[in-house]
């Protein structure tokens, strides 16, 4: 649980972040979106006190962050930046072991943790532990960056444009991996991006920032169906908002009872993908399958279309 209370940052005459209050639930993903210069990175960096707030408070699990030394606070909070900032003179294993070493874990425990994380991120410890960052691809470096941030089992993970340097295909994979890992560890994630699609794909809660203020904060559907500000609808885009709304619901969630028929779709597919399938096949309905192959239910064209309308 992170409570941000009336947080501001001023540099001389300019106010970069202006009395922002946010409540971030434990184990959720909150995405802060905004154009460059909106203050979103500054807001993120005030959570682990890389930037000291001018006024306001940040409370993590009931404790004001200013009650402990900034460097000790940061060791409890994971931090991932664009470009990853891997240490070029240290091996992958040494990079990942950075915070555990600062916390003086014993060597055995560090090694086990490094191997575990490498396996979770699909990097074979035998092959990768001894490599240097420049010997790896961008996608592999990104995974090492996240693994390093998670090494000391933080409950909070801050990410500043973590996928910005990846090509679209690898970015999609990395976003899916992040969701898996978030579910696995129950980490509370605060992520900054300028990419609205990324925000909708990952977020439980999206905060839209402009000129240092949070214009709207809520679940992705709310931003699409009830934008609080013209800027929010401009940022989300109005041309394909129905499609964006459909993309937020999975077939499994929307499946209704009824006779099976038409093409089959997995429960994890989004309604947008199911609609596309139906249009392509010219079919009026699809059958939704559970991961084990059993039938979950069906989706009709009219049922899907109804969900693409703001309620």
């Amino acid at each position: 649980m992170i409570e941000i209370e009336a947080l501001s940052k001023c540099y001389e005459s300019t106010t970069v972040v202006d009395r922002v209050s946010l409540s971030i639930a434990r184990g959720s993903i909150t995405v802060i979106v905004g154009t460059s210069g909106s203050g979103k990175s500054t807001l993120l960096r005030m959570i682990n006190r890389l930037v000291e707030p001018t006024s306001g408070r940040v409370i993590i699990d009931g404790i004001d962050t200013t009650t402990e030394a900034a460097h000790l606070l940061r060791r409890r909070i994971g931090y991932v930046i664009q470009g990853y900032g891997l240490f070029p003179h240290r091996t992958v294993a040494e990079n990942i072991a950075t915070v555990p070493r600062l916390l003086e874990w014993d060597a055995e425990r560090i090694k086990n943790r490094v191997d575990e994380l490498l396996r979770i991120f699909q990097l074979d410890p035998q092959e990768f532990a001894g490599k240097f960052p420049h010997q790896m691809s961008g996608g592999q470096q990104q995974r090492v960056g996240v693994a390093r941030a998670l090494a000391a089992e933080p409950t909070v993970l801050l990410m500043d444009e973590p996928f910005g340097a990846l090509d679209p295909i690898i970015r999609g994979r990395a976003q899916d991996d992040l969701k898996d890992i978030q579910r696995r560890f129950g980490t509370t994630i605060v992520l900054v991006t300028h990419d609205m699609d990324e925000a909708f794909r990952l977020a439980d809660q999206v905060a839209v920032m402009s000129a240092g203020k949070v214009l709207q904060c809520g679940p992705p559907e709310a931003l699409l169906t009830r934008p609080a500000d013209p800027f929010v609808s401009r940022l989300t885009g109005t041309a394909d908002r129905a499609m964006k709304l459909l993309a937020l619901t999975t077939a499994g969630e929307a499946a209704e009872p009824g006779a099976a028929g038409g093409p089959t779709v997995p429960a994890s597919a989004t309604l947008r993908e199911v609609l596309s399938d139906l249009v392509w096949d010219g079919a009026p309905q699809a059958t939704v399958l559970n991961p084990d192959g059993t039938t979950r239910g069906r989706l009709t064209l009219t049922g899907i279309l109804a969900r693409g309308k703001p309620s």
Partner: protein, 389 residues
């Protein structure tokens, strides 16, 4: 196919240049110079006039072979071997000439290598260096080459082969002083460098952390760098002399207006700029993302400096130290003028006595020392740079 044939007949441009230079040296420049005593002007002697016919023909035959390899497209190893063979016959010939021209037991006549010898030596040296460069040796290999050359030079000087040459005559007269001045030369160069490292690296770190200090500090150090060395030695004589007179404690430490103290201080001042500048550049080159990530993970600023910034900047700082060491080895020479000793003593004595051989006795070891230090530190910089990039 055409390309391969063309390469087969390619003529090496550097080889042509070196061959022309070598040939001109053989034809037009005296190989050895004979003087009846140390300061009389000498007269040129040709090798044919000195050595038995077969020896001088053999000498020229080897050089012809070297020239042939320099001109054609022979591989680098063969070129190196032949260039070194050329150097060997050159040294043998000049040694033999010294022995032949010196009457038994005579310590007055002087036989010096002439301009022809030096030009040939430089040409062969360039050919050998070029061959080594083409072989692209790693740092370890280059140090090995250096050690082999040093061992070969020691063996040649120790063998007595060159004992009748004028430079070696000067050495025999000055043997005990030579060792002392050599130690003093190395001591002055190293101690001023060490003091500079101790001051300049923290100063560089400070300039990196406090940008406002940077321009002023580097400007001041730049200004020092523009003062001619002889002037700086002179400028320091007055305050250090006054300090010694005013504080017996300082005088007790060996601080005087002349001698070691002003030399070390001046060399120290000259050493600051390259190390401070390279420290600043090295730290500025450290990836900002790595430093930001380190801070975000909870490293303290001391830990960031020790574990991230310094290791990543170190190769650049070491390059600055290399510049300083080579520069100091040269500058120490001038320090002899204010009584600080070193090889410069021989150089300036030689100039005063118009005894060029004495000048060479000082100058040759300075060049060898500077060259060796450059090779060693370059190899070190390269070794350190390797894993990180």
């Amino acid at each position: 196919m055409k390309k391969v044939m063309a390469r087969g007949f390619a003529i090496d441009r550097l080889g042509v240049l070196l061959t022309v230079i070598g040939l001109a040296a053989l034809l037009f420049l005296p190989f050895v110079i004979f003087k009846a005593n140390r300061i009389l002007p000498g007269d040129a002697r040709s090798l044919f006039a000195i050595l038995p016919a077969w020896e001088s023909w053999g000498f020229h035959a080897v050089l012809a072979l070297v020239a042939a390899s320099a001109l054609g497209s022979v591989n680098a190893r063969t070129r190196l071997a032949l260039a070194l063979a050329g150097v060997a016959v050159l040294v043998l010939a000049v040694g033999a000439a010294g022995n032949a021209l010196t009457p038994l037991g005579n310590k007055v006549v002087r036989v010096s290598p002439g301009p022809g010898f030096w030009v040939l030596l430089v040409a062969l040296g360039l050919m050998a260096t070029d061959a080594i460069t083409r072989m692209r040796p790693g740092p370890g290999m280059r140090v090995l080459f250096l050690l082999l050359f040093a061992a070969a030079a020691t063996a040649v000087f120790g063998s007595g082969l060159l004992d009748h040459l004028s430079v070696m005559r000067e050495y025999q007269v000055n043997a005990s002083r030579f060792a002392h001045e050599a130690r003093q030369h190395v001591f002055l160069a190293l101690s001023s460098m060490a003091a500079a490292v101790i001051v300049a690296v923290p100063l560089g770190i400070l300039c990196h952390r406090v940008p406002r200090l940077r321009a002023g500090t580097l400007g001041a150090l730049n200004l020092i760098q523009t003062i001619p060395s002889i002037a700086l030695f002179g400028i320091l004589m007055a305050p250090l002399g006054a300090l010694a007179a005013a504080a017996p404690f300082a005088a007790g430490l060996g601080i005087r207006g002349i001698g070691t103290a002003p030399a070390v201080v001046a060399l120290f001042l000259y050493s600051l700029l390259p190390i401070v500048a390279n420290t600043v550049v090295g730290l500025a080159r450290v990836s900002a993302a790595a430093v930001d990530a380190a801070r975000g993970m909870g490293l303290t600023s001391g830990q960031i400096l020790r574990h991230i910034e310094m290791p990543l900047a170190f190769p650049v700082i070491l390059t600055g130290i290399r510049i300083v060491l080579v520069q100091n080895i040269g500058l120490v020479t001038v320090a002899a003028l204010i009584g600080a000793g070193g090889f410069g003593t021989f150089v300036f004595q030689g100039i005063n006595q118009t005894a060029i051989d004495l000048v060479l006795l000082g100058a040759i070891p300075i060049v060898a020392l500077a060259f060796s230090c450059a090779v060693l530190l370059d190899a070190l910089v390269e070794t350190i740079n390797r894993p990180a990039r």
